[in-house]
């Protein structure tokens, strides 16, 4: 059995205790809500998109250490990025979570995972993958709302 230290890396606990980009954004920023039916986590992502760039992003809601730290790290990683870069990052993250397959093609845009690498251990705890992925799916939804 993988040890809990694989899951609860220090950097994860740090993002959990001091989440980045907490808060809300007023319109014209868009928002999307996500639920994790398993654990009751609720997350709201606010996204301000301008000319194909996510100029600002905020996170609110409650949840476990994994869902909260994942949201916090994500907000750092995507803020200021182009939508194409964000799509690539989301794909890379889902590949890391083993819920999407890596394609052989070289990625169209380069992707840096940074702190997010720390979430790699989650994949050994399959039940927690949903926690880690919640904010990402919610962001996807928000970006869809933005382009709608």
């Amino acid at each position: 059995m993988p040890g809990l230290e694989d899951l609860y890396r220090e950097i994860i606990l740090d993002h959990y205790r001091t989440p980045r980009n907490r808060g809300e954004l007023a319109p014209p920023a868009v928002m999307a809500e996500g639920h994790n039916p398993l654990c009751g986590d609720e997350i709201t992502i606010y996204a301000q998109v301008e000319n194909g760039v996510l100029v600002d992003v905020k996170v609110s809601g409650q949840g476990c250490s994994i869902s909260q730290s994942s949201a916090s790290m994500m907000s750092q990683a995507v803020k200021g990025k182009s939508l194409a870069e964000i799509q690539a990052l989301i794909h890379r993250f889902k590949v890391m979570m083993s819920i999407e397959e890596d394609s052989d093609e070289a990625p169209a845009v380069e992707v840096k995972m940074g702190d997010l690498e720390a979430l790699q251990g989650v994949v050994k705890f399959p039940v927690r993958i949903k926690c880690a992925i919640l904010s990402w799916n919610t962001l996807l939804q928000a970006l869809e709302n933005a382009s709608a």
Binding site: M1, H35, P37, L38, C39, P126, V127, R128
Partner: protein, 413 residues
């Protein structure tokens, strides 16, 4: 063993109940169209799971719950592949095919059917594909139309386009549980779509015995029951096209089918949870997964081939032996019939026939087979019905033929 050379004796040996002796005679189980026996693989999958890993699914976060969830969802994927559904979340687990049809009638039906709307059925439907629509006649004032049968028990499609004119639903059995008739499913789905109707296929009798491809059929909804396909009781399947399932209102309300619940309302979960309210039949779904593995391993084409041979053998044996004394309903052409033989024997009532066969441990059903409108058409209140499955062989057909002799003795005819 996925070749045409299957060791059918070994298959029979996989079913412990068929080793049972009653009064020194072996069991000749010919009631599989009613419900099928279970192989060790299914019984053990259920018992082992309860012995070693029983846990809730979807709700709890510890490992054993995660493992149970994986087994449950793994079974869903097995079903998806078994019927060639596009995605696993098009596969909804219900308690039986009856619930599956009611679900459609009460969700898609209530959302889309209004007074005067037409639902087309056939004269050879099981009550499960009649009564749910009767209930909408009473509630909504919809109109039912019926595809008639030819003299040899096939669907009479000569007026199909008239019947389908303006219809919203064509709902029909892929194979009759009384006549054995196999419907031209693909053709009927195409006709329904051409008329602007959706096509619902009651595949209860078909899926256990044939290769099923819901995409090749181009059906909209397909339903069947686990217990007729060597799987457990308490679990059925509803497959539906994703767009339709997405658009449908929910059926039962409760845990698992919600995204959020507040004092003043709720929102529904994603597919397939949306239609799986409450604690599902966890053990039974896992058992059904084992049944699918078991059948797949033998090969559905092989099973169909085996049953065709057996049907041909049984038909010719009974006809040769009893001539005009036996009337076997349904088409004579085994290409379009499954291994279901409903028959009238002399003028002995089917219930008495079944009683006399039971004396020789030959188990057949006598009754209306939940198809009273069809019975009326056959001019009978009941028939006796012998139905065969992968674990039957020619000795079973012979036992049936032999046991019928007893009926003549007693009734002196």
């Amino acid at each position: 063993m996925n070749t045409t050379r299957v060791d059918w004796a070994a298959v029979k040996a996989d079913f412990p109940v068929l080793q049972r002796m009653i009064d020194g005679q072996r069991l000749v189980y010919l009631d599989s169209a009613n419900t099928s026996q279970k192989p060790n693989a299914v019984i053990d999958a259920m018992a082992d799971f309860m012995r070693n890993g029983y846990a809730p699914i979807n709700r709890s976060a510890y490992r054993m719950a995660g493992e149970a969830t994986d087994l449950y969802e793994g079974a869903r994927s097995k079903l998806q592949r078994f019927i060639n559904a596009r995605s696993a979340h098009e596969v909804v687990f219900t308690k039986n095919a009856t619930e599956s049809i009611n679900l459609i009638a009460q969700t898609w039906g209530r959302a889309n059917l209004h007074a005067g709307d037409v639902v087309v059925l056939t004269h050879m439907e099981h009550h499960a594909n009649i009564v749910p629509w009767h209930m909408l006649v009473a509630e909504r004032g919809i109109e039912l139309r019926w595809i008639p049968l030819t003299d040899d028990g096939q669907l009479d499609l000569s007026n199909l386009s008239t019947l389908l004119d303006g219809a919203k639903i064509l709902s029909f059995t892929a194979m009759s549980n009384v006549l054995g008739t196999i419907s031209p499913v693909k053709q009927l789905c195409a006709a329904a779509h051409a008329a602007g109707a959706i096509a619902i296929v009651d595949a209860c009798q078909f899926v256990p015995h044939n290769v099923t491809d819901v995409q090749a059929w181009d059906a909209d909804f397909v339903m069947f029951s686990g217990h007729k396909m060597v799987g457990p009781t308490g679990v059925g399947v509803l497959w539906g096209r994703e767009e339709l399932l997405e658009a449908m209102p929910p059926f039962l309300g409760g845990g698992n089918m919600i995204a959020d619940v507040r004092l003043n309302g709720f929102t529904t979960a994603e597919l397939p949870s949306k239609f799986e309210a409450g604690t599902p039949a966890i053990v039974e779904v896992i058992g059904l997964g084992a049944a699918v593995d078991y059948l797949t391993n033998i090969g559905m084409a092989n099973i169909r081939h085996h049953e065709m041979q057996l049907t041909e053998y049984a038909l010719s044996t009974l006809n040769a032996r009893y001539g005009d004394d036996i009337v076997i309903h349904g088409p004579r052409n085994i290409e379009i019939r499954g291994a279901v033989l409903s028959f009238a024997f002399r003028d002995i009532h089917p219930h008495d026939v079944s009683q006399i066969l039971d004396e020789k441990n030959v188990c057949v059903r006598a009754g209306h087979h939940c198809a009273k409108p069809l019975m009326k058409l056959l001019g009978a209140n009941a028939t006796a019905r012998a139905s065969f499955y992968l674990y039957n062989d020619q000795t079973d057909a012979d036992a049936l033929a032999d046991a019928l002799d007893g009926a003549s003795d007693i009734f002196g005819v």
